[in-house]
């Protein structure tokens, strides 16, 4: 396989098995995924398909049992410096003993002076609309704001790739819409490469340039759909756009078919 510009982040023949009661339980099998630099890709699949496993392999947090992950041509063996992760459970991913500002500054301690750390962190907090909250503790603000802090922490780190694992699954619907729009804005402003794992089809289509469907046991990529929508998106008009609805329906069908097949198999 040759390396081209179109393969910034890639999974090649990626497989992973967990060992449960001394037996290998395969979760992913032969996953091939190419993400171009600056592209936004959403991975959808129903719960338990191995979406998080895939994301953790991409992040270098989990060593796959087969195949490999490459970022910018280099094989990923551990979390690369050019990559940041936002986890689903914000209440467990922020340090409750640190102020919001200290949380955002923590990953910057490798190789940055304290002044630079502080200004970057404050800029990132401003970017997610959290000006002036730096001295509070994470548990003093709402869940949606905590997830903004986690996103600010990722942005201050200035990664080339941002991976998000069900980032908005634990916040209410209105906050969720706000955060989705915020991610779109960040993406437009920074040109960051984005991979979002979600079980929410609407969210996937709304955020993505491409939606890939992860399905099967063990799971692989069963569909790869281009979202033919302009980069400027709006919660109301985009979600009523026929092109949005077409992709949404297609993804929905794929997952439903897959579920039905799984249902017959068991």
């Amino acid at each position: 396989m040759t390396m081209t510009d179109s393969e910034f982040l890639q999974a090649i023949g990626l497989s992973h098995s967990y060992v449960v009661d001394r037996a290998a339980r395969p979760v992913l099998h032969g996953v091939d995924l190419q993400v171009r630099a600056g592209e936004a890709v959403c991975v959808v699949g129903h719960s338990g398909t191995g979406k998080s496993t895939l994301l953790r392999c991409l992040a270098g947090l989990l060593r796959p049992t087969g195949g490999e992950v490459r970022l910018d041509g280099r094989r990923v063996m551990e979390p690369p410096p050019d990559l940041a992760v936002v986890f689903q459970d914000y209440s467990r991913s922020l340090m409750p003993w640190m102020s919001i500002l200290d949380n955002v500054m923590l990953p910057l301690r490798r190789g940055l002076g304290s002044q630079e750390r502080r200004s970057r962190a404050q800029q990132a907090l401003a970017d997610v609309g959290l000006d002036g909250t730096g001295s509070l503790y994470p548990w003093q603000v709402s869940g949606g704001m905590q997830q903004r802090v986690a996103i600010a922490r990722a942005l201050a780190y200035r990664p080339g790739v941002l991976l998000m694992d069900e980032p908005f699954a634990s916040v209410d619907a209105q906050t969720r819409a706000d955060l989705e729009d915020m991610v779109l804005t960040i993406r437009r402003d920074t040109g960051i490469t984005l991979v979002v794992v979600t079980h929410d089809i609407d969210e996937a289509v709304y955020l993505a340039d491409r939606v890939v469907v992860l399905a099967g046991t063990p799971a692989s990529i069963t569909a790869d759909l281009r979202v033919d929508l302009p980069p400027e998106r709006d919660q109301l008009t985009t979600k009523a756009d026929p092109r949005f609805l077409a992709v949404r329906a297609e993804v929905f069908n794929m997952i439903r078919t897959e579920l039905a097949r799984a249902g017959r198999a068991t």
């Binding site: 992040a59 947090l61 551990e78 979390p79 410096p81 990559l83 940041a84 992760v85 986890f87 459970d89 209440s91 467990r92 991913s93 340090m95 409750p96 003993w97 640190m98 923590l106 990953p107 301690r109 490798r110 503790y137 548990w139 003093q140 869940g143 922490r153 780190y157 634990s170 209410d172």
Partner: protein, 267 residues
């Protein structure tokens, strides 16, 4: 302001009525006592004033406090350092566990003759014993705290490539801190016991020595004055370590209070 003062007054009243009553009963009940071992409280109070305000303080109290301070410092510092290391090495931990349980269960005062034999009857032995006594509660709690760091937090630390030092001091130690502090508070009470015990065994000064010596010379009111001083010391140390806990773990209390309030809203 006056309302706050009033509230403070009422709080003191609620806290203090039983101790005040107990002392009064003791005072009145022992007033005409002729028992050798239970002299009148008035006599004890008189001796307390003569001895501990502040005539004998430099002779007996200061050396005890110095031993306590050094022993605690060494024991707790060693406990936290080794606790962090061993807590992060599951294999080593399980290999050492039976040994650690055995050593913890051995009464520290049983080692007194051994340590005094090895290191002599000086300050070194006493500090070593106090440190050893203070070590185990903090150490075992630190290990537990380090082992129970949330795996999600560990993953964040890995994903953002934190340095080993930052992981140790900014992630693992603060996360383990609630348990470290519980261990520390037990260490303080163990250390006080070892201070007194070691001074009773082999010493020429210290409160433990003083209490034993007073009993041996039938200066029973002096003995009681020493006991009361130790009681007050223990109480004060407990207040201090509770204050320390409040200060170090303010985030923890805040977080738990917030979780309790938001329990429903946070979903």
């Amino acid at each position: 302001m006056s309302a706050r003062l009033l509230r403070l007054g009422r709080h003191l009243l609620v806290e203090a009525w039983l101790p005040v009553l107990a002392v009064t009963v003791w005072w009145v009940g022992s007033a005409s006592s002729t028992s050798l071992y239970f002299p009148p409280l008035s006599q004890i109070a008189e001796r307390f004033r003569e001895l501990w305000l502040f005539d004998q303080v430099p002779v007996h109290l200061v050396p005890s406090l110095q031993n306590l301070g050094w022993g605690l410092l060494c024991g707790v510092a060693a406990a936290v350092a080794t606790g962090i290391v061993i807590g992060r090495m599951p294999r080593l931990h399980s290999a050492l566990l039976p040994l650690m349980e055995f050593m913890r269960a051995t009464p520290i005062l049983a080692l007194l003759p051994l340590v005094f034999g090895l290191l002599g009857l000086g300050v070194t032995s006493k500090v070593a014993l106090i440190a050893l006594g203070a070590f185990w509660p903090t150490f075992l709690n630190t290990v537990d705290g380090v082992r129970s760091v949330d795996p999600q937090i560990r993953e964040v630390a890995r994903a953002y490539r934190l340095t080993r030092t930052d992981i140790a001091f900014r992630v693992v130690l603060p996360s383990a801190m609630p348990q470290v502090v519980v261990g520390f508070r037990t260490s303080v009470s163990v250390a006080v016991v070892v201070v007194v015990g070691s001074e009773m065994f082999g010493a020429g000064n210290g409160i433990g020595y003083f209490v034993l010596q007073a009993q041996r010379t039938y200066a029973i009111a002096d003995m009681w004055a020493g006991i009361v001083l130790l009681g007050l010391l223990g109480y004060l140390l407990n207040l201090l370590s509770a204050g320390f806990e409040r200060w170090v773990l303010s985030w923890h209390r805040g977080q738990r209070a917030a979780a309790a309030v938001l329990g429903e809203g946070a979903r």
